[in-house]
């Protein structure tokens, strides 16, 4: 038996033993949750019980803490890139530079496509919103834990699965559309955006619903021990990746389309002179 084969055999043996031990531990009745599935689901939607103390000032939902962590990480990343990477940009890009340029170019092209007359600002907005939605949705995969005010542990969820976060995103996006219309096309543009008054509600609840459903499925899968062994690989990673991408794409597309509509200056209609009757 060669050395390589010996190593492979030993690895397989230890893997099987480890899996069996995990199975034995997980099937032990003592590992059951203290909360019922009903309570877990209700809390995932409403965040009534599991609150986190923010700097000892106010009690907030875990989603807000997730939002702060994601934003902090993104800002630090942006700072590092701005200081150390962007000044060293070359005409022929490397892999990282190409990735950055491609990401910016993607959002820029979406904004130019949907809002051809005014696209620079909205390109920046959908760039930040898209990255925020995508990264913050993936954030729940990390499974970071925080201590609640009741002393129990809670896994930090995606910031937008918190209704407050989703409303903030929807209202801010609507504000951008509304004021974009006012600045670029005058009061007519603003009125055009005001016609779609249901937009902030639909955007907020679409985000909330999509991300909450993902969170609920994940909670459900993790609640039962048997389903929490292999299933999370599919549910946790693939579903999260998929709805992170879809929600980011849907929001940025909607915002850029509505922004394009509201900020478009429509040409004035030429008044046609009424023709008088010949025999008048």
């Amino acid at each position: 038996m060669s050395k390589k084969r010996k190593i492979v055999s030993l690895t397989i043996f230890f893997a099987i033993v480890a899996l069996l031990i995990i199975g034995i531990v997980l099937t032990n009745g003592k590992a059951a949750n203290e909360e019922t599935i009903k309570e877990v689901m209700r809390d995932a939607v409403l965040h009534e019980n599991n609150k986190i103390n923010l700097f000892g000032v106010i009690e907030v939902n875990p989603g807000l803490i997730s939002a702060f962590i994601v934003s902090g990480a993104l800002i630090i990343f942006a700072l590092i890139v701005r200081i150390f990477v962007i000044p060293k940009f070359t005409l022929v890009p490397g892999k990282f530079q190409y990735g950055l340029e491609k990401t910016v170019g993607l959002f820029s092209s979406i904004s130019e496509e949907n809002s051809p007359h005014k696209s620079y600002f909205i390109g920046g907005y959908i760039f930040v919103a898209g990255i925020y939605i995508f990264i913050s949705t993936l954030f729940e995969l990390l499974g970071l834990q925080a201590i609640t005010t009741t002393g129990s542990h809670v896994i930090l969820p995606a910031p937008l699965s918190d209704i407050n976060g989703a409303i903030a995103m929807g209202v801010l996006s609507y504000g951008v559309i509304l004021f974009g219309g006012l600045i670029n096309a005058g009061p007519k543009g603003m009125l055009n955006a005001l016609k779609d008054f249901s937009l902030p509600i639909s955007m907020s609840f679409r985000l909330f619903g999509a991300l909450l459903s993902g969170a609920l499925v994940t909670e459900l899968v993790y609640y039962y021990q048997l389903t929490s062994i292999l299933l999370p690989i599919i549910v946790g990673i693939l579903f999260t990746l998929l709805h992170a991408f879809i929600q980011a794409y849907v929001l940025i597309t909607l915002v850029s389309i509505f922004y394009g509509e509201s900020s478009e200056r429509k040409p004035k209609k030429q008044k046609t002179k009424k023709r008088g009757k010949i025999n008048e």
């Binding site: 939902n61 807000l64 005409l91 950055l100 910016v104 760039f127 925020y132 407050n164 995103m169 801010l172």
Partner: protein
């Protein structure tokens, strides 16, 4: 509030996103866009420059081709004129040679004629002298012997030469 909506937390989320927006917009989006547009401008400039250079090169090529065509024409002309000149020169040389030959022949002929005339005149003179001498002798001696001796005297120069 229904669904546990908390206005304060909504505002906190808004504040969080606003800060994030400004940070990412000014730290990433704007500089990268600026770099991209700078690069696009650079390549546009390069394209324009290369277009200009190509135009210039085409111009130079056209000029060169025109010059080459002109040079070919000139060479052809020069060849023609050289050939003309050469043929003219050769003709001249040939005519000169012919003239010289003719003059040489003419000179030779005149000299030959002159010599012929001189020989003929000297021969006539000799014959005349001999005839005179013979007549003198005949007249002086008036005999056959004298005639034979005359004949012998005619042969004398030959025997004298043989001796």
């Amino acid at each position: 509030m229904p669904l546990n909506i908390d206005l304060q937390q909504v505002l906190l989320h808004m504040l969080n996103f606003t800060i994030l927006f400004f940070a990412l917009y000014f730290l990433l989006y704007k500089p990268i866009k600026k770099f991209n547009s700078k690069r696009a401008d650079y390549f546009k400039e390069m394209e324009a420059k290369s277009g200009g250079m190509l135009e210039e090169a085409n111009k130079i090529k056209d000029e060169y081709e025109a010059k080459m065509a002109k040079a070919d024409e000139e060479i052809e002309k020069m060849k023609e004129s050289a050939a003309d000149e050469a043929s003219k020169k050769s003709e001249k040389i040939i005519t000169n040679a012919k003239q010289e030959a003719n003059s040489i022949i003419l000179q030779a002929k005149t000299r030959a004629n002159k010599e012929k005339k001189a020989i003929l005149s000297s021969a006539n003179k000799e014959i005349r002298d001999l005839a005179e001498q013979a007549a003198e002798k005949i007249v002086m001696e008036g005999t056959l012997e004298s005639y034979e001796s005359f004949l012998d005297s005619v042969d004398i120069p030959e025997s004298e030469e043989n001796e």
